[in-house]
């Protein structure tokens, strides 16, 4: 396939910079056209790689642009509790304020409460640019509440982008309403295009006043999802497809899904790991269905990348999440607090703030390109992963012991590439309850050669070194990618000179169990 050819080209003997950049661009799917004639370049694609009208749509959308997600924030409002299908990875009875997964919320809102919340958040967090309705059920199974919310927000906060995330069953019948309310980003969760596979994921759908089960249910769902996707792309609405990777059920099949959605004009494909633990009470949790390891997930994402651009920065957030993708500030904006807030929606102040954020983003890209130029003569085929502790803004600005997640970058002669993130919150039960916080972190980033932090204490430093992960604090508060490339250059030099030997690292774990609150985290002393 195309992607394999690119891999081989990258590892060939003499590589000049232009060729590398060209390969990187092609590898991402840039320059290729999807069925609708739209570029399929999305997650890590920058300004130069996208048509201007697409760039305008994604440049400050944290879910559609990997670059934007370091700088711009999103929020979900939980106005849509009802659902029209049942999924084996979802349990609607689950309720935990500290858990972060789709389908979990702390409180439901009316459209009026939701609009007030959006304005309050937008006034407090000026880099909040995107409002999504993602449940906790299906937005299109609650059309009156969903569209009323969009209507109110478009009046009160006209600069905010509107999105929705759906299972697709009711999508075809609501296409015109979606277009009417200027919803310009729609995500469809498509886990299969083969009803035989679908029957293992969806026990039933509720359609035309009937509960339909088995293969017939999956067939109807799949047909509606793909038709809905086509109808959206025909109308110029940007579509992302989410797929849950369920090992042994649809993992290999997702390559077929990837082809099917690309050919129908999807802009971006987001393959997410199944989150499954017995305490969640889902069918998959109770039957012991496991989620993928970090390596399995990355391998599948890599294999689809030649076909179209892949999203790897999804945090599988709650249906009431607020803030940057790696953070959740929803506790600051409970209904009680919002109703007491005096809010003045200042459009100009928001624009001014966002202009500063945009400068910051550009400075980061320039810094990276500068450092990248120095890698131009590099021909090594070594690839390593590095973990980064960050609070956002594209900077290494978080202490090791305070990090709730680490961002993962792949470093190679082609430069740096964001390939994912790992949560390191502790676990209630199931998971690794007896481990210390540090052991949990090491399991989560075990496939990395280095971890970049703003600061780290002596105790975790030694344990990381013992585990073969180099703690790096010399780039504190500097740009992530520039620093990572600089470190990688030195790493390659040390390998060449024989000072160190390059080893391949093992696999890493993706968190599965339920999460616990911050106060309960046991952090290693001195961090």
């Amino acid at each position: 396939m195309e992607s394999t050819a690119h891999h081989e080209a990258v590892t060939s003997e003499s590589v000049d910079m232009d060729a590398i950049m060209q390969q990187v661009a092609e590898h991402k799917g840039c320059g290729t056209s999807s069925g609708s004639g739209k570029s399929s370049c999305g997650s890590s694609a920058g300004e130069s790689e996208l048509p201007p009208e697409i760039w305008e749509k994604v440049k400050n959308h944290p879910c559609y642009s990997e670059e934007a997600h370091h700088h711009f924030a999103r929020m979900h409002v939980a106005v849509a509790p009802a659902c029209n299908i049942q999924c084996n990875y979802c349990n609607r009875k689950y309720d935990c304020a500290n858990e972060s997964r789709p389908g979990v919320v702390s409180e439901r809102l009316t459209p009026e409460q939701a609009a007030k919340k959006v304005v309050a958040v937008a006034s407090t967090i000026p880099q909040m640019t995107v409002l999504g309705i993602a449940g906790p059920g299906d937005p299109l199974a609650n059309p009156a509440k969903t569209f009323k919310t969009f209507e109110l927000i478009s009046q009160m906060a006209p600069d905010i982008k509107l999105c929705l995330s759906t299972n697709g069953l009711a999508l075809p019948e609501h296409i015109d309403t979606i277009a009417k309310y200027n919803v310009d980003h729609v995500t469809i969760t498509i886990n299969m295009v083969d009803p035989e596979v679908g029957a293992k994921i969806y026990p039933w759908i509720f359609y035309k006043h009937k509960r339909i089960e088995g293969i017939e249910a999956a067939r109807i769902l799949s047909e509606h999802q793909l038709r809905g996707l086509e109808m959206l792309t025909e109308r110029g609405i940007l579509c992302k497809v989410n797929s849950v990777m369920i090992p042994g059920v649809n993992d290999q099949h997702l390559v077929e899904v990837n082809k099917a959605v690309k050919s129908r004009g999807a802009f971006l494909h987001n393959i997410m790991p199944l989150i499954s633990a017995p305490e969640h009470g889902t069918v998959f949790g109770l039957t012991g269905q496991r989620g993928p390891s970090a390596q399995e997930l990355k391998a599948l994402q890599d294999s689809c990348e030649g076909e179209m651009n892949m999203m790897r920065h999804c945090r599988q957030c709650r249906a009431d999440a607020v803030g940057l993708l790696g953070e959740d500030r929803s506790a600051e904006f409970t209904t009680d607090k919002i109703m007491d807030m005096e809010v003045n929606y200042d459009l100009e102040a928001r624009k001014a703030y966002q202009a500063v954020v945009e400068q910051e983003r550009q400075a980061k890209v320039e810094a990276k390109n500068e450092e990248l130029a120095a890698l131009a003569d590099e021909t090594s085929d070594i690839k390593v992963l590095a973990a980064v502790a960050t609070k956002g803004s594209g900077l290494i600005n978080e202490h090791f012991g305070h990090a709730k997640e680490f961002q993962i970058y792949e470093l190679s002669a082609a430069g740096s590439k964001f390939v994912g993130h790992r949560r390191v919150d502790l676990y209630c039960q199931g998971g690794f309850g007896d481990d210390t916080a540090l052991e949990t972190v090491i399991r989560a980033i075990n496939d990395c050669h280095a971890v970049f932090v703003a600061k780290i204490g002596g105790c975790p430093k030694n344990d990381l070194l013992k585990a073969g992960i180099e703690p790096v604090d010399e780039f504190a508060h500097e740009f992530i990618e520039k620093s990572a490339i600089s470190w990688f250059k030195t790493y390659l030099e040390k390998v060449k000179s024989g000072e160190i030997q390059h080893f391949t690292r093992g696999d890493a774990e993706i968190r599965q169990g339920a999460l616990i609150a911050d106060e309960e985290r046991k952090v290693c002393d001195g961090v």
């Binding site: 009802a82 609607r92 059920g137 609650n142 509960r211």
Partner: protein, 73 residues
């Protein structure tokens, strides 16, 4: 002559409220309830009770034994 909702099982997702052909379902004190005077078990409207068919938690919408089964006029 009616279905009832087992309060301890109900997730308050509201899916049943919109599907009920008799507008017999409403939210009361943080959970959903069926008005037995309005419930017709969907007889005359649909083949199956809509609240049962759409409810995400099995055995949550059940026949209320306190009332005789609904008899269409």
């Amino acid at each position: 002559m009616a279905y009832k909702i087992v309060a301890s099982q109900c997730t308050n997702c509201s899916a049943c409220e919109a599907e009920c052909p008799n507008e017999a379902i409403s939210e009361k004190g943080g959970t959903f309830v069926i008005d037995p005077a309005k419930c017709t078990e969907c007889i005359g409207h649909y083949d199956t009770a809509q609240c049962v068919a759409v409810c995400p938690v099995d055995k949550t919408c059940i026949i209320d034994a306190a009332y005789p089964r609904y008899q269409p006029a």
